[in-house]
Structures are given as C-alpha cells and as structure tokens.
C-alpha cells in the first residue's frame, strides 16, 4: 500500500480512535496525545501492515498497546486473575477521581458505570457494542482468542448491570 493511500485510509478512523482514547484515558488532552502517538507509530511501521487485513483493528490495537505501555506505568500495580482480568471491582485506570486537569466528568449512570469497569472489560464493550466491531476484530485488538472476548463481554455486562443497580438504589 502506498504511503499516501495508507495515511488517507488511516485518517478515516480518527474519530473512532479518538472516542476510544477518551474512554480509555478519560482525559481529552491525554486522548489527543495518545491518538497522535498512535498515528505516529502507525505511519512509522506502515510497512508492517499487511494490505487486505483490517486496518481499523490494526490501528485500534496500536492505540491500546500504546495506552497500556505509557499509561499503565502511571497506575498502581494490580493483581491479575488467570484470564488477565482483575477479580475485584476496583477500576484499573484513573480510579474515580476527576480532580486531574482536563479530566472528563461522567454525566450519566451508564458513563459512571463504564468508568468503573476494568480496562479489559471497558475495551471489549467499547469495541464490540459502541464501535460495532465483529468479535474477530475485537479479538485481534485485544490479542486474545474470540472465546475470551465473548467471555469478557458477558462478564463486563454482568458487572455493568450490577453497578447500574447500585446506582439506582442510591
């Protein structure tokens, strides 16, 4: 794929990537940086992209890996369960604090509940339900089998429903 073609096609996914970045970082300025870094990496390693495969999944995968590389370092270490997902309700990223500069506020219970999900759960829901990605693409982004994606979606929704019920009671 020619460089110009690749760049044009990659830029078509900018809004989707930015939306995903905002939900991952919960901070628009950080989302800006994350998206910029994602595109820089994608352009630098464009020769590794195999034409005919899913460019969107490849871009999302770069974004998520970049996020995990750079942002996870800033977060507290958490014990990981066997399937790679923490077993308790403490969110993995950014907790619930919104006192950081530029941090995004949650306006609805659904947003607040999403914010409390661990990253692995939040990501599968965002990719599969919000972006409408096929499970195979989600599996590629998450670098795990499709079965694991299905399991995570199931568990994520269970966790989400539980959180929403708690909010309703309050």
């Amino acid at each position: 794929m020619a460089d110009a073609d690749f760049q044009r096609q990659a830029l078509q996914h900018l809004d989707a990537l930015y939306n995903f970045a905002v939900y991952l970082t919960r901070n628009p300025p950080e989302a800006d940086d994350l998206v910029q870094e994602t595109y820089l990496r994608a352009f630098r390693f464009s020769h590794r992209f195999q034409p005919g495969t899913h460019l969107r999944a490849w871009m999302f995968q770069i974004l998520r890996n970049t996020f995990l590389t750079f942002y996870r370092l800033r977060e507290r270490e958490t014990a990981i369960a066997e399937d790679g997902v923490p077993d308790w309700d403490v969110p993995m990223f950014h907790d619930t604090s919104t006192d950081e500069g530029g941090a995004l506020e949650a306006h609805t219970d659904l947003e607040r509940a999403m914010r409390h999900l661990p990253e692995e759960f939040r990501t599968v829901l965002l990719l599969a339900e919000v972006q409408g990605m096929p499970l195979e693409e989600v599996a590629r982004v998450m670098a795990c089998p499709v079965g694991t994606v299905k399991s995570r979606i199931f568990r994520a929704k269970e966790r989400l429903r539980g959180l929403l019920k708690d909010y309703e009671k309050k």
Partner: protein, 233 residues
C-alpha cells in the same frame, strides 16, 4: 453478538451502550496536526538501515585499526626514521624511566649490538645521560642512548648499521658547524640523520619549534663531536 452467552438483557444493554454513551469526535486541531504530519516529507526508509550499516562498519574499522597493516613509506630513509621515532616515543613514555644499562655497561652493549662506541658522549652541563640499551629496528640490531636536557626534553641517540640503500638526501641537509646532517620531521618529532663510517646515526627529539631547533642543533654538535660509533663485528 450472537452466541449462547447473549440474552435479552445483553441485547438491551448493548443497544443502550451504543445509543446512550456520548461519542467524542476528534478536535479539528488534532486532525490538522495529523494531516500536516503526513504531508511533511518523510525520511527515506532506506536511510535508517544505511546509517546503521555505516556506523557498524566504522566501529569495526576503529576496532580493527591496531591490527591493520600500516602504510609503510617507500623511501628507506623514511622507513628508518619512522622506526627511530617510534623507539624514541617508546623511551619517552616508558623506557627512559626504566633504564636497563648505565654508562658502566657500554662493553656489554657492544657485545649485544655489534656496534662499538669507541667514544661516547656521557653528558655535560646541558644534557645528562639517562640510559643506554640495545634496540632492534628495521630488522637490524642497534643501540640507543637517551639523554635529557635541562628543560626536560628527552633526546635519543640511535645507531644502526647503514644499509647500502641508506643515503642521506642532499636537499634536506642542514649546515651545522662543520657537519651537514639531514633534518627529518615525522609524527611531531625532529630527527638529525647522518652517516658515520658504516653506521647510520639518528638524534631524535620533540624540539620542533624554531627556538628549540636551534638548541637541538647545538645538542647535535655535542653528541656528534664526542661520539664515535663503528661496526664491531
């Protein structure tokens, strides 16, 4: 998603997520900066590997430099001068501090080198004898006598058997007193070169400045007049 894990609640929650979660669109400035970045001329892909290869080659050359064959001067006099200068450098760095032979050992020196010093300059008010030792330069045995002047300059007097091809170049000769030695400069050192019978004599020092050179001429005269080397056997 259509599988066994999905129930009516899941579908409803999925629809809720798709419809109720706000969508964030990329700010215009982000789009502009990315487009500008793509328009910028990019470094050619081959440049990185090329620079890496060049750097590797350079590192290898630097690593191998000590074992690469030196460029040897074609002129036999220059070859000997370079060897003599190297010997002087060695003495300057290490040899003069570890004298092997004192003046009393000159007979042993003759025995070792085959060069007899019938008379030898043993030092005076300007130059003091530091050491004397046998040397092996350009495949020949010879001897070296090292002096140090009052200013701390090391002066090496080296004698080697003169080969047939060894001829003092006329154009480089300098008139000093009644002598006409040849002056050679190499690697930051100056050397007086002259033939005395069957031997080639060299007086080396780092006295390269004009003032130093005048004093070095004086040292030459002192050594030349007081020293008489010959081939012993």
């Amino acid at each position: 998603m259509s599988d066994e894990l999905r129930g009516p609640d899941d579908d409803a929650l999925g629809r809720r997520l798709a419809s109720e979660l706000p969508r964030y669109t990329a700010p215009a400035r982000l789009r502009v900066s990315l487009v500008e970045a793509t328009d910028r001329p990019r470094r050619p892909m081959w440049l990185g590997p090329l620079v890496a290869a060049a750097a590797t080659a350079l590192a290898l050359v630097l690593f191998m430099l000590p074992v690469l064959p030196r460029i040897v001067p074609a002129d036999p006099v220059q070859q000997v001068v370079r060897a003599v200068v190297n010997e002087h450098s060695r003495a300057l760095m290490w040899g003069a501090r570890q004298p092997q032979i004192l003046p009393a050992g000159l007979p042993w020196l003759t025995q070792e080198t085959g060069i007899d010093l019938r008379r030898a300059f043993a030092g005076d008010d300007r130059l003091s004898l530091v050491s004397a030792e046998p040397v092996y330069l350009t495949r020949q045995r010879g001897l070296a006598v090292h002096y140090r002047d009052v200013d701390g300059h090391l002066v090496s007097y080296i004698v080697l058997p003169a080969e047939r091809s060894f001829t003092v170049v006329e154009r480089d000769r300098v008139a000093i007193d009644r002598f006409r030695p040849m002056l050679a400069r190499d690697s930051g050192f100056v050397t007086w070169i002259w033939k005395q019978g069957d031997v080639a004599c060299f007086l080396v020092s780092d006295m390269v400045s004009q003032d130093d050179l005048e004093r070095f001429k004086d040292y030459f005269v002192r050594v030349r007049v007081a020293t008489e080397p010959t081939i012993a056997y």
